[in-house]
């Protein structure tokens, strides 16, 4: 049992997506459309989440607009008091759908962009998409949604962080999330092509810090350093099973969107269990609560209450043992794994694009 209550549910409604970004946070093994939860399943999950204390709902994917029941789900979320964010590429956001979502009570729309440079943005997305995104931005502005832009940063766009910030500013975004690539799944597969250099990171940090001041009270800018260049690991969502629940398109409940890579754990399905049981009782959510599972040097480290030994998914992805310290931490001998990766930045950038099995490969 835990006395904590979750605050946030990320509902990955589908893995289907018109984009093929090589850093996608979805797992390598994507869920096919026919395996997705039904409308009634999602509504039940939202209600159970609300009863458990969830306040924030992310309607995410893949591309959630591919779900024809998105408006119905948004309406249900609002009716039970959740604050909902649509996490979208913008593709498929027609006027009709945008108006229906507004009417359903959706409050916040977050649109992803890949770069300020059109050709490069489309190279990263693996598909022509910039015009449709611009149209989506205009609709979101016109209809008065709370409006965020999200950009995943990596070697191929980090040098244009200034242009990206000004583009989001010129669109009148309320918030801008500058999110550095996280290296699990697709990101790990493409790590050598995505990893920025130290010099790039330093320049980007200076640019972002100046922009945060310049845009104060106009646009909230969130910029977090890429963890590979940090001394200590990130405290994922305030620790395992503390605040956050992810539900995948086919109904697996996870403490973090990347957790399905931890094959040494099994995670419960919302088709078979209530979220209440999942949160309080399921072995998957219990696995890394508290600190008795920690190894040295974490177990006796004063930082264990700050970063909780870091990211379990990263520990598993890089060492094969999810209970190991996050190798990002410079206090563990595992840090060599990170420093090694920082050394491998080839000049040529070749992406391995995100595809559903059976889809044609991107050029």
């Amino acid at each position: 049992m835990t006395s904590e209550r979750p605050t946030t549910l990320l509902a990955e409604l589908t893995h289907r997506c018109p984009l093929h970004c090589p850093y996608c946070s979805n797992p390598l093994e994507l869920i096919r459309g026919e395996a997705e939860l039904a409308t009634e399943d999602w509504k039940r999950v939202f209600s159970q989440a609300r009863d458990l204390g969830v306040l924030q709902l992310g309607l995410s994917g893949g591309e959630p607009l591919i779900r024809k029941d998105l408006e119905e789900l948004a309406r249900h979320a609002r009716s039970i008091g959740l604050y909902s964010t649509l996490v979208t590429s913008g593709l498929g956001l027609t006027r009709k759908r945008a108006e229906a979502l507004k009417d359903a009570g959706l409050e916040h729309v977050q649109i992803s962009i890949q770069d300020a440079d059109t050709a490069n943005a489309e190279r990263i997305a693996g598909v022509s998409s910039v015009k449709q995104k611009q149209a989506a931005v205009a609709l979101v502005q016109e209809l008065g949604f709370a409006f965020s832009i999200n950009v995943v940063l990596h070697r191929g766009n980090l040098d244009r962080i200034g242009e990206i910030i000004d583009l989001a500013g010129s669109w009148g975004a309320d918030r801008l999330e500058l999110a550095n690539t996280q290296y699990y799944g697709w990101g790990l597969k493409n790590r050598a092509a995505l990893m920025p250099t130290r010099e790039q990171v330093q320049r980007a940090k200076a640019t972002a810090e100046a922009a945060i001041e310049r845009y104060r009270k106009k646009m909230q800018i969130i910029f977090v350093l890429p963890d590979y260049y940090e001394q200590y690991p990130k405290a994922c969502y305030g620790g395992w099973g503390k605040l956050y629940i992810v539900v995948t398109p086919n109904g697996l409940a996870l403490p973090c969107h990347a957790a399905s890579i931890i094959t040494s754990l099994s995670f419960p399905s919302v088709r078979e269990h209530s979220l209440e049981w999942i949160w309080h009782e399921s072995p998957g959510f219990q696995a890394f609560r508290g600190d008795s599972w920690m190894k040295e040097p974490c177990r006796t480290c004063p930082r264990k209450t700050v970063d909780f030994s870091g990211c379990r998914c990263q520990a598993f992805a890089l060492t094969g043992d999810a209970a190991n310290p996050d190798p990002v931490c410079t206090l563990t001998p595992l840090r060599g794994l990170i420093d090694e990766a920082l050394g491998e930045t080839p000049d040529r950038i070749d992406y391995e694009y995100r595809v559903l099995a059976g889809e044609p490969q991107r050029a």
Binding site: R5, T7, R50, D51, L52, G53, L55, Q56, G81, Y83, T85, E107, H108, Q110, A146, S148, D174, R175, R216, K217, Q220
Partner: protein, 87 residues
């Protein structure tokens, strides 16, 4: 710009004051975040309407609680202003 007694605070356009029946507390909801409010915080924010000044809010609460709360109110609103939840 820090708030002063004559400032007219208003909630960030994207923030919404709500009640959470699970925690039985008022909450301030906004994109990707939530502040769980204590009774005093909720009392202050309920008076933030984009018309009242900081001094007026403090005066209403001062009468309600029969004590001078002007410093507390100003400090509380300034903290939220620093987080851009109050403008």
């Amino acid at each position: 710009m820090a708030l002063n007694q004559d400032s007219v605070p208003r909630l960030w356009r994207l923030a919404r004051l709500d009640y959470d029946p699970v925690r039985q507390r008022r909450v301030l909801l906004y994109p990707e975040g939530a502040v769980l409010l204590n009774e005093t915080g909720a009392a202050v924010l309920e008076l933030v309407d984009g018309k009242r000044t900081v001094a007026e809010i403090a005066s209403i609460l001062g009468e309600r609680y029969q004590t001078d709360v002007s410093t507390d109110v100003a400090e509380y609103l300034s903290t939220l202003e620093e987080r851009e939840l109050i403008q």
